[in-house]
């Protein structure tokens, strides 16, 4: 039988298996080397970590753009990390959010003071009038604070329109209006409101956290509440209660919380914000209920109002009489005490 085995360079005979291996190494040497390298890369944790670190940032961006699964997957881990971090060192969290808390606290205090001043000024205005005395009696009977009785009788206002505006673009997300209100183009109004705010901020304010809160035009007031992603603007006719401001703030906070993703990704389609309408209508209706109650009371008073207005002089005379009577009583009491 002829000798078919392949000899190596030195002339020694090689077995069939070795022949195959040798042949393989001749033909597939570069691929074998690549495969060994790939195996090394897969099996070596350091190399794998190095390679993953090169693409992980882009991978997160790509995945996050597709759906919310990445955020959902990471949420428990992030919550645990945050909780542990705060437990370990609460100070760092306080230091981090302090720049935000400070302005928010100051604003809350300023709103509370404004409300107090409004209440106080009304109280002083009506302290010494005949109407004021009547309201004092009503306050005692109903056990409500005098300031509240005063406000109920005097404040009549109506929220005519509410705009929910995308903060960055100035485009209107939703708009509601009370009945029989002449409504201008909501898109134009919201854009102009945004432009006015930008103008005022650029021209008069150097602070980033300051914002326009009120606009006044005759009987109309526009109250503006700013959030990070949206602005809520209420057009009010009359003299609104400060509690309306709180209602607007809470409404905006809820919208910011529930629609934060929609606000971040807004590109002109306001359809996702349709479900906000009930909240905005609530702001409108809340004000009108108070309005209705005040109107009811003021309609009773209105028939007497004419008489009261013409009787202001009489009130003054009565007041002087009462004051004189009190002085006389004090003198008599003093005389009696001195005798005794």
């Amino acid at each position: 039988m002829p000798d078919t085995s392949i000899g190596n360079i030195s002339g020694n005979k090689i077995s069939d298996k070795d022949e195959l291996t040798y042949l393989r190494s001749l033909i597939l040497a570069p691929e074998q080397s690549e495969i060994s390298e790939l195996k090394e890369r897969l099996n070596n944790p350091k190399i794998r970590a190095e390679e993953l670190s090169r693409v992980i940032a882009e991978a997160i961006v790509v995945r996050a753009a597709k759906d919310q699964k990445l955020a959902t997957a990471l949420l428990p881990t992030i919550e645990t990390v945050l909780r542990d971090a705060v437990k370990k060192d609460p100070k760092f969290l306080v230091d981090t959010i302090f720049p935000i808390m400070g302005p928010a606290i100051r604003r809350a205090i300023s709103e509370a003071l404004r409300s107090m001043i409004q209440s106080l000024s009304k109280t002083l205005e009506y302290a010494f009038s005949w109407r004021g005395i009547k309201w004092r009696i009503e306050s005692i009977q109903t056990r409500k604070p005098f300031a509240e009785i005063v406000l109920l009788h005097t404040l009549v206002y109506r929220v005519e329109q509410i705009f929910l505006i995308h903060k960055e673009t100035g485009l209107v997300l939703q708009h509601v209006a009370a009945d029989s209100i002449d409504v201008k183009d909501a898109d134009m109004v919201s854009a102009m409101l945004t432009a006015i705010q930008d103008f005022v901020n650029d021209s008069f304010s150097g602070k980033e956290d300051s914002s326009l809160q009120n606009l006044n035009l005759g009987e109309l007031t526009v109250w503006i509440e700013q959030g990070p992603g949206a602005v809520l603007a209420a057009v009010i006719r009359g003299n609104p209660l400060q509690e309306l401001r709180t209602i607007l703030q809470e409404t905006l906070e809820n919208i910011e919380f529930e629609y934060s993703s929609a606000l971040d990704n807004f590109e002109g389609n306001a359809a996702p914000f349709e479900s906000c309408r009930p909240r905005l209508l609530y702001c409108l209706s809340q004000a009108q209920q108070t309005d209705a109650r005040a109107n009811k009371i003021s309609s009773k008073l209105s028939t007497k109002r004419v008489k009261q207005n013409t009787g202001k002089k009489e009130n003054l005379i009565i007041f002087l009489y009462v004051a004189a009577a009190l002085c006389l009583l004090i003198l008599i009491a003093g005389y009696i005490i001195s005798i005794l």
Partner: protein, 165 residues
Amino acid sequence: MIQKKICMLGSFAVGKTSLVRRFVENMFSDKYLTTIGVKIEKKNVNINQENVSLVIWDIAGEDGFHHMKSSYLRGMSGYFLVVDKTRASTLDSAKDVRKKINEVYCDIPCILLFNKMDLTGQWDIEDSVIEELHHEGWDIVKTSAKTGLGVEEAFNRLATKMLEK
């Protein structure tokens, strides 16, 4: 309906307000009243069977980006750079604005408008310059707010680009 904010930018007296007025009201006036701050107009268009509400911010003309109130540009989906074909300096200003905007906003649709095409005897910018800009990648429309040339085309083209993005 989709809403889009677009801005009209460019030096003073290039015809920004006139272009907006021509587009929105189909009117033109020779009288020049400088825009102070910003004027806002709105027009609905139909692009590929989609209703789009264009909210147009006509911003007061400034020479250069550094004078411009950048807060007005926030959130814009596209913008026009308007150049007066009878004043070459307005083109330099437009280039400067585009460069600065690209640094901040990157890749927002923009169309360069060469306005006042009706003033044929007073052109200060050669057609070769416009060709060169076109080769550099600028999207250009020649317009005249007075005659209406290219106005509808410009706004429709910008709206299409914004929707495609």
